[in-house]
């Protein structure tokens, strides 16, 4: 099983390395998006950081960069999770049929996606840091990781549950747009409404904004956000587990 886990982990990473579209989006779209925001944003804004109950005054540029970065990374990594599930489910079922441990398959894929989320979070936090000095880089990276992990989990679940690629893409786009847009006090009157606390990226967003703009750090948000991602991820993995089942138990080997 350990050999199968390592094979899954290593080859899942190789698969992600060959996802040229996602890599191009990360390398080109994310910095370009941040540059556009930096070029177009002006003025300052005062808003309430809900999770801490404090009023923060900052430039619209900084807040837009943070929400834009989260929006882009969650979209891209949601697609990565979706793509992994859509492309691999039939082959993974064949692997299980050939004797591959399903546990090793699920764990290997999970760890590979987690590592990819970690790398992307560090990279995205680094890109934002190029535009303004964030107060706590590690907190921003950790918050981004939680948001990305949540969307990888959502993409994974969508990839297994929804019937086609198009449905999955639309679901992730709409969810990420609503999620990050509604929380952004620039242009969203609903940002101070309690309902945003139930959104997938609420805690990571609070963590990222607090870490970048203030000296406030609350690691419980990291763990609670990770718990949220894990909850959705478990649903996705359970669906993946179900999709890769074989009928071997119903057969008799004599």
């Amino acid at each position: 099983m350990i050999t199968q886990f390592w094979a899954t982990f290593r080859l899942s990473l190789v698969e992600q390395k060959h996802n040229r579209f996602a890599i191009a989006l990360l390398l080109v779209y994310l910095p370009a998006w941040c540059a556009i925001i930096a070029a177009l944003s002006a003025g300052s804004i005062e808003f309430k950081l809900r999770a801490f109950g404090v009023i923060v005054t900052t430039s619209q540029l900084r807040l837009s960069l943070l929400t834009g970065m989260l929006n882009a990374t969650t979209l891209i990594m949601g697609f990565v999770g979706l793509n992994v599930m859509r492309q691999s489910a039939p082959v993974d079922q064949r692997l299980v049929l050939c004797g591959h441990s399903r546990t090793a398959l699920v764990l290997g894929r999970l760890v590979a996606l987690g590592l990819a989320a970690l790398v992307v979070a560090g990279y995205a936090a680094g890109i934002v840091s190029l535009f303004f000095p964030v107060r706590h880089f590690v907190v921003v990276a950790a918050g981004t990781f939680v948001a990305v992990a949540a969307y990888v989990a959502i993409g994974t679940l969508a990839g297994v549950v929804l019937p086609g690629d198009l449905e999955g893409f639309f679901f992730i786009i709409m969810l990420s747009l609503v999620d990050t847009f509604m929380q952004n006090p620039i242009g969203s009157a609903a940002a101070n409404h309690q309902v945003v606390e139930f959104f997938p990226s609420y805690l990571p967003m609070q963590m990222v904004v607090a870490g970048a703009l203030t000296s406030l750090v609350a690691w419980w948000q990291f763990w609670a956000g990770l718990g949220w991602a894990a909850g959705v991820g478990i649903l996705g993995l359970a669906a993946f587990w179900y999709r890769t089942r074989t009928a071997r138990t119903a057969r008799a080997d004599f």
């Binding site: 050999t3 080859l11 996802n19 049929l97 050939c98 004797g99 591959h100 009928a247 057969r251 008799a252």
Partner: protein, 206 residues
């Protein structure tokens, strides 16, 4: 041919919703025997093979197999974002066998070893199908289930495939091939004909 069957399907039935795709299919296959399953589109051939392979549960009935299975699906089921060698490596891990040595010989036989380091998504349909076949054969299974395994093959590869199948039969493997090509009937020891989910004829072709 051994007297003891390596594959026994008894009273196998399968429904999808209200549609009955297979009805009380019963047959057996022995080591060293090559069986062809023929029938029109939608007759239930692929469903039967998927049930035997263990990918699909039967609604009723029983499948018994002796020894490891190799299953080659009709559509290539391979990881498109990995190379040929990486796909082989992953399946070798699934079969718990040392990496690529037996698969390397098979790739040479089917003349596509030069694509070892090419991503599957960049391969032609025929070469993907060769990989699809190698992944089913590489662990030398006792029972081979092949669902139209030569789709997209050129004539030369098609001949190589049958030479390989003949060798496997002589080595004692049980081979079940789904085919809709009438002129292939002579290659099989027996031909089973499926019509509307019913195994209507079982004739000696050899």
């Amino acid at each position: 041919m051994s007297a003891q069957p390596s594959l026994v399907a008894t009273d196998v039935a399968r429904t999808f919703g209200r549609r009955q795709v297979l009805r009380a299919v019963t047959f057996c296959a022995h080591p060293g025997e090559m069986i062809g399953i023929v029938g029109e589109n939608g007759a239930g051939k692929t469903t039967l093979l998927r049930i035997i392979a263990g990918l699909l549960p039967a609604s009723r009935g029983r499948v018994e197999v002796r020894g490891p299975l190799g299953y080659c699906p009709q559509e290539p089921q391979v990881h498109p974002a990995l190379t040929v060698a990486q796909n082989v490596e992953w399946f070798a891990a699934a079969y718990r066998m040392p990496r690529t040595i037996p698969a390397g010989a098979l790739m040479e036989r089917l003349a596509f070893e030069q694509y070892r380091d090419v991503l599957v998504r960049d391969l032609s349909g025929g070469t993907r199908q060769k990989l699809n076949l190698v992944l089913a054969l590489m662990h030398a299974p006792a029972i081979l289930l092949l669902d139209e395994p030569y789709q997209g093959f050129d004539w030369e590869t098609y001949q190589r495939f049958w030479a390989l199948a003949e060798e496997s039969r002589r080595a004692g493997q049980t081979i079940v091939v789904i085919s809709h090509l009438f002129y292939e009937s002579g290659r099989f020891d027996r031909v089973l004909r499926l019509r509307d989910g019913v195994l209507t004829t079982a004739e000696d072709a050899a």
